[in-house]
Symmetry: C2
Subunit: 319 residues, 2 copies
């Protein structure tokens, strides 16, 4: 049964890549390595009820399990190549597996990402994906490279996924705005092209998975700096503003997780260039603050008052 | 909390490897690739109650989670380098994490294997490990390379882990034999050096994780051949024979999972050479049968009678 499940997934996610000498079906995969590149690898797990609400469609789970990992590669500026899948589920549910594979493949296809290995086991619904990507030596973006004086930018809009979760949990009336926000929760679009474009211009970079305050806080700790954010500059979607208004939008943007936008720092002199580079690939970016001496993330409102930011983004095991 | 748990594991498993440019602590790890090698990757999951009995010590779980993956690399003839860990547990249990890391590190150390990335999440106890190893181009062992006329061999002894599980489940009286068998269940020793030694001499290879009949069956399917096994030649440990006797030992050897020995085929003319190569690295091997035309695995007893082998090794989701 194990064999046939992973075989089903293999068939439904097949990608012709010449660097896969042996894919799913043996004890391990055998991969031909590129020359002149460093390998970038990440692993992330999604658990039902923790990382996605019960009732999430299998296709959305398959998409998101890959998306959160591609987002890690994006934050490093790496281009995706291969993935491994560990899928644990209560029983051998073929319909679930087919839906999962379909969602996974839909996101994998444009990246020509190949699923090269997998394991299916019985247990509580838990999905781990490991991804492998590449970047030129020394060119990866890290959390530790922010410098005092850098501008802080984010791609896209913030807080949409948290607002989408709110819509699901509070049975918000159906509308195109609601659908947009729930779609941002269930089908996040990893900023892979943006991350690669930022390799030569950004200093530090992280993906916003746990909320802006928490993730920008990781940059501050790793870089030994502080950050000041202007709340009035935070980018909100029109769906967010229509359904929730300014103040709630701000809270979602600061503390909501699951957006998978990139938060990055660039020298102030290169902000325009970075925004133009991203715009060319259809990715908007917004300057929201600056890197300062000190530590921690401070947020100023439109009147110049410092906000109480003790309400932080969620972390696993703490909510 | 997530951060500090994975930090604890990082500290306790630290391995100095110059090819790890960025390890645990950023969005992804950055790894310097060797030249002139292919990469071999595998992922395997262990779930409490399915792959290890409740009550298994955290250190044993840490050891075994890595061991089953190293065994996959061994079956391909690859040398281990890096690992990723996805650890899901019901709550942030620092003692569990410390024990897990200790067992993991104990096995990782002699291989200089570095844990380069990880994710800790809340949920039912589930451990996925992905491993990365290397082998010279075209030299990996596969399931698909068995040829009619090959001899079939296995390393070590078979059935010990299944016997160890029986001891735990039936409260078999404490003894050195019992401890040996339980140790084989909880601390399997992956045959990494044996796998590498077999690269130039074996045809097909697989690790015995689901039982000899099931795993040799995988070789038969992948290679388009059949196999004949002499039950009288199956290697048993003295602990097994002392506690269980010949007939039960045979059943455990044929159908018991979790041994993580290697089952491989070699041209008949090279059997002595293969056994000598393995003996030099302290690994015994036993010739147990031969590859034949046809399909499936047949087992003959000491009197030349074919056994009914419909009782197969277990597979996930089927027991």
């Amino acid at each position: 049964m194990e064999f046939s499940l992973i075989e089903r997934i293999r068939e439904r996610t097949a990608q012709g890549r010449e660097d896969v000498r042996i894919g799913i079906g043996d004890d391990a995969a055998v991969l031909i390595l590129p020359t002149g590149q460093e390998q970038v690898v990440a692993i992330d797990t999604m658990v039902e009820g923790v990382h996605f609400p019960p009732g999430t469609s299998s296709a959305d789970i398959g998409w998101k399990a890959l998306a959160v990992n591609l987002s890690d590669l994006a934050a490093m500026g790496a281009s995706p190549a291969w993935a491994l899948l560990a899928l644990t589920m209560p029983h051998a549910d073929v319909d679930f597996v087919d839906g999962f594979a379909e969602g996974f493949a839909e996101l994998a296809r444009p990246y020509r990402l190949a699923l090269v290995g997998g394991d299916t086991t019985r247990g509580a619904l838990t999905v781990s994906v490991a991804v492998h990507g590449f970047a030129p030596p020394g060119k990866t973006l890290t959390r530790a490279a922010a410098r005092v004086g850098d501008a802080i930018l984010v791609t896209g809009t913030l807080g949409d996924a948290a607002a989408g979760l709110y819509c699901l949990q509070h049975a918000v009336e159906a509308s195109s705005h609601r659908d947009y926000l729930v779609g941002r929760l269930n089908r996040p679009a990893p900023r892979v092209a943006a991350g690669m474009a930022l390799r030569d211009i950004a200093h530090a970079c992280i993906d916003v998975s746990d909320g802006l305050l928490a993730d920008l806080g990781h940059i501050c700790i790793a870089s030994g700096v502080g950050a000041e954010i202007e709340a009035g500059l935070l980018p909100h979607s029109s769906a967010m503003l229509s359904l929730f208004g300014d103040t709630t939008a701000r809270d979602f943007a600061l503390s909501g997780g699951d957006d998978y936008e990139l938060c990055f720092t660039v020298p102030a002199a290169h902000v325009a260039e970075a925004m133009a580079d991203l715009a060319r690939m259809g990715c908007g970016a917004t300057r929201i603050g600056r890197v300062v001496e000190g530590q921690g993330v401070q947020v100023r409102d439109a009147q110049g008052q410092w906000l109480d930011t003790s309400r932080r983004g969620w972390e696993h095991f703490s909510r």
